[in-house]
């Protein structure tokens, strides 16, 4: 019964989303105030309908209703509760529903918190979101229905994919999807503004919090995903340049560019066309990334198996969304002329430089990701463009970005001179140079460059902040007083840069990783990275829906016993799959990483032992970036900017 209600709610949501879309987009043109007010109301009911459908599917998962095909294929009653819930979105149909749910959440957020926007703009933004939602809900309902029933039901479900049975899976997709889908709001703002034919500083101020919010989620989602693959896949790798990862990285790159140039629109009314294009491009990349990976076009280890006819439906939806928006963009080209002008050396041009580098990196990643399917199409060959290509092309572009991102925030708007900025930052440059020289002495040029670059970015941001606070130049309470009046957006931006620098440090540190693959008998030991790793025992251990073999390792340094590690191999009998559960010990600045890879016929344990210097900084940096975004969102200027307070006189702001 509940799945039928869910199915009905889904059908209802399609109708409501279409109504929301059509009324929202066309009512402002008809100057019908009542119709314009209807769009936000429809967005709320549309959200409630999808919410009901989503809860219905989760309920079916919780009670293990195996008459629902989705539950029978991807869940089982032996799986712990959290994975019965998260399993509902760990497959194609369920993840579509999650996707639509988050999209409707975006619509409802604009409807509720956008009270201070001009009524016509709000109706149009909500309308555009409704149209997108309508299309994808129709797809879910017709060809990707998560509520399909089967009869007779199997006695037991097939179970959750063992690799996905992990706390990381429960949080990673919703966070990542919120990031992806969140950019739909920036997209809808761009389309609404193009329809109205008016883009000004106010538009820049409205669109930025939404872009920032989704950027925070996307950053956290990518960091979570990378962390998850680091500790579950057992390779000790954190980024594989896999199409799925690239699909997440592309909108992150253009989204980061969007954040930066929306500031220029807001402050200086320049770069308007470019900002609108980035808003369209970011959401288009999110859309195509999510769906092309699933259609099986891109060869990926993560792809959900989907039928090609689903692919054609999706492609048609993408063509309408992306093609339609770009057509509108071209048509409205004349109204997008810039009004603010700036000197070649200024904060604006530093932000332009940032955009050029970010977009070049995006272009390179885009080409590298799409080259294999197009090589197949044009020349009929199947091949893989792998890590060497991306490393060799992306790293040289990241270098100048790193150099520029430390200097940019020091430049004033409109017209700047480079010497005062350099004069302010020379101690940081000296420290970075020192790091570089001391590392090249050990003949790790790449690591030296990365560590120096990371240090440069982190210290430059801290240094700038310290100077603004007059830290150590004025009494401490004076600095603290300055901190309280400093715009939070400025602190947030500095934190964002610090986070990026910390991630760079982590990536550079990982190039110094040492690894050993070795077969040890119980009692034997090996040395790696300054530690003695001893295999004490191999034993059996129980698990909820798997059995496992555990290797007990003791690490010691200079004869002192330091810690125990317990990597295991898990045997999932239902799926006949073995996973390696890595044991990771971290102290915040390095990871000791042990994988129990195999039990060879001759006895003993085949172990992969690694020491990863600075590995935790990779994800820690992502977290700092997201926190910086969050802090910036709480800035008073943005809350005033989302102008509910101005118009309706509410005491609470709308921090997006």
């Amino acid at each position: 019964m509940i799945p039928e209600l869910g199915h009905f709610a889904l059908a209802l949501a399609v109708a409501l989303a279409c109504a929301q879309g059509i009324i929202g987009v066309f009512a402002p043109g008809l100057q019908d105030a009542r119709a314009m007010r209807a769009a936000p109301a429809l967005a709320i009911s549309h959200f409630l309908a999808i919410g009901a459908a989503f809860l219905g599917l989760i309920y079916a998962g919780i009670v293990s209703d195996f008459t629902v095909e989705n539950v029978a294929n991807f869940s089982s009653s032996q799986v712990p509760l959290i994975y019965r819930i998260s399993g509902t979105w760990g497959n194609h149909d369920g993840s579509m529903l999650l996707w639509c749910f988050i999209l409707s959440l975006c619509g409802v957020t604009v409807a509720v918190f956008g009270g201070g926007l001009p009524a016509s703009l709000r109706a149009r933004v909500v309308g555009v979101l409704g149209l997108i939602s309508g299309g994808f809900l129709l797809f879910t309902l017709t060809v990707s229905d998560p509520f399909t029933r089967i009869w007779p039901p199997p006695l037991q479900g097939a179970g959750v994919n063992p690799i996905l049975q992990d706390p990381g899976l429960a949080f990673h997709p919703p966070v990542l999807y919120t990031g992806y889908v969140g950019f739909s709001v920036a997209f809808a703002f761009a389309i609404a503004a193009l329809i109205e034919g008016r883009i000004d500083a106010a538009w820049g101020r409205w669109v930025r919090p939404w872009a920032l919010l989704s950027w925070c989620f996307l950053t956290s989602g990518i960091a979570l995903g990378s962390w998850w693959s680091y500790y579950t896949l057992g390779w000790g790798g954190y980024w594989f340049w896999d199409p799925v990862e690239n699909a997440a990285l592309l909108p992150w790159l253009t989204g980061t560019a969007l954040l930066h140039c929306a500031i220029v629109v807001e402050k200086r009314e320049a770069l308007k066309a470019w900002t609108v294009l980035l808003a369209i491009a970011t959401f288009s990349l999110s859309l195509s990334g999510t769906f092309l990976v699933r259609s099986g076009i891109l060869n990926s280890v993560h792809s959900f198996a989907a039928a090609p006819d689903q692919g054609l439906f999706i492609l048609a939806l993408l063509a309408v969304t992306i093609g339609g928006s770009l057509l509108l963009f071209a048509f409205r080209a004349p109204v997008l002329a810039a009004t603010g002008i700036f000197a070649p050396l200024s904060r604006e041009s530093a932000l332009v430089l940032n955009n050029i580098f970010l977009c070049s990196i995006a272009a390179v990643v885009f080409v590298g990701t799409l080259y294999p399917p197009f090589a197949d199409l044009l020349f009929g060959i199947q091949l893989s463009v792998g890590a060497p290509f991306f490393n060799q092309t992306v790293l040289p572009l990241t270098g100048p970005l790193i150099v520029a991102m430390a200097i940019g925030p020091l430049l004033p708007w409109k017209r700047a001179a480079i010497m005062p900025a350099l004069h302010r930052i020379w101690p940081v440059a000296a420290v970075a140079l020192l790091v570089f020289i001391s590392m090249t002495a050990e003949r790790h040029v790449i690591a030296a460059l990365g560590l120096a670059g990371g240090t440069w970015v982190v210290l430059a941001a801290i240094w700038d902040l310290a100077q603004r606070l007059r830290l150590f130049q004025a009494p401490l309470q004076d600095s603290f007083a300055r901190l309280t009046v400093l715009p939070r957006a400025a602190v947030g931006a500095a934190l964002g840069h610090i986070g990026f620098g910390v991630t760079v440090l982590g990536i550079a540190g990982m190039t110094l990783a040492v690894q050993e693959v070795i077969v040890l008998m119980p009692g034997q030991s090996t040395t790696l990275g300054g530690y003695t790793w001893t295999l004490d025992d191999i034993r059996n251990a129980p698990g909820p829906n798997f059995s496992q073999r555990v290797a007990d390792l003791t690490l010691s340094k200079n004869g002192h016993e330091l810690l125990q590690m317990h990597p295991s191999r898990r045997f999932f009998t239902a799926q006949k799959t073995v996973t390696n559960d890595a044991a990771i010990h971290t102290n915040g600045f390095q990871d000791l990483y042990a994988v129990f890879a195999d039990e060879p016929a001759g006895g003993g344990a085949e172990l992969r032992l690694n020491r990863h210097p600075l590995a935790p900084e990779i994800w820690f940096g992502g977290l700092i970036m997201a926190l910086g975004g969050g802090l910036s969102l709480s800035d008073r200027r943005l809350r005033v900017g989302a102008p509910s307070r101005v118009k309706t006189g509410k005491t609470q702001g709308a921090p997006a």
């Binding site: 076009i297 090609p308 080209a333 090589a375 020349f379 060959i381 199947q382 463009v385 792998g386 060497p388």
Partner: protein
């Protein structure tokens, strides 16, 4: 006029997206028709000996040069692979099967690190009689390698008789490799 020019300029992203979309449409249609015939471009090496090269060994395997494959005692395969390549991972079991039949496979690891290759071979099995490293990727350019994996069939005269770009499949082995073996053994 200026407005029109601006519109055309701003239409460029649309054109790019349109081309991409048309490409994806074609690919999807082909997938739907099961119309996958990987007819590789003819390799410039076919009918010739591989160009001069000398590559060091890797991961315990001994390296080789073009003189080592000028006159092999029996036909052989040269397989280009990399630990970072997903099709190579898929191809690994097939190479193990071929190696068991006694056909020598010499491997060349393309732009890869020794640790990563040992790890890859430890996980997926080592089908290679000899294993060389092309760390710079320069030999691959001379051979005209498109990407990895790629496999070359070399006869007893040291002449390249066939080249497969992409992973070897059951179909390729049955329909192309077996006849070549019958002909050149």
């Amino acid at each position: 006029m200026d407005g029109l020019r601006r519109r055309l300029l701003f239409g460029a992203p649309l054109a790019v997206a349109g081309l991409g979309g048309a490409g994806f449409y074609t690919i999807l249609r082909r997938m739907q028709d099961n119309h996958y015939d990987p007819h590789a471009l003819p390799s410039p090496l076919i009918g010739q000996r591989p160009p001069a090269f000398s590559l060091p060994g890797m991961a315990g395997g001994s390296g080789f040069s073009n003189t080592d494959i000028m006159a092999p005692p029996r036909p052989m395969l040269v397989n280009w692979f990399a630990s970072w390549c997903i099709p190579c991972l898929e191809e690994a079991p097939m190479l193990m099967q071929i190696a068991k039949t006694g056909l020598p496979i010499w491997g060349i690891a393309y732009e890869d690190k020794p640790d990563a290759v040992s790890n890859f071979l430890a996980t997926n099995g080592n089908p290679y009689t000899r294993l060389a490293a092309d760390s710079s990727g320069l030999t691959a350019i001379n051979w005209g390698v498109y990407g990895v994996p790629e496999t070359y069939f070399i006869d007893t005269g040291g002449i390249v008789r066939s080249r497969w770009a992409g992973a070897l499949t059951d179909q390729i082995v049955a329909e192309e490799l077996q006849p070549l073996l019958a002909r050149y053994s």
